[in-house]
Amino acid sequence: MDSFSSPSSSGSPASSEQLMEQIKAQLAQAFAQEFLETVGNKCFAKCVTKPGTSLSGSESSCISRCVDRYMEATGIVSRALFSPQR
């Protein structure tokens, strides 16, 4: 990647914007990793109750549905936080 080999000119607008973009990208990646780990834990617990020598078809489709539902649940919780009802 070019940005790693170019000399840093601290104080110039271009490099601090690049830095901000890098930080945002890293934060997004860290969040995505944490999310995937959580989803993996939840769905393994729900769908793979008796681990066999490979994932069965029903286990695989359960996992697929589980991931979709978990993403949906994240959306529902997000919206609930931003539109409180009394």
């Binding site: 945002k24 934060l27 969040f31 944490e34 978990y70 949906e72 609930a80």
Partner: protein
Amino acid sequence: MENSAEMQRFIEQEQQKAMMSEMIGKLTSVCWDKCITGTPGNKFSSGETTCLTNCAQRFLDMSMIIAKRFEMQ
């Protein structure tokens, strides 16, 4: 000078966003455990959707109570 003020604001914004993301993540995890008791289906039942929404909002209510209680000490 211009740069560090902008950087400061950027950092504050990202901190806020990170805190929100973390809150949503934890809340989803807790409410999933409370509300999705069976095997995941092709869609949520209306009971499950309601439970998730209630769970998140009741958690907020609880947080307010705890914060107020803590303030009075």
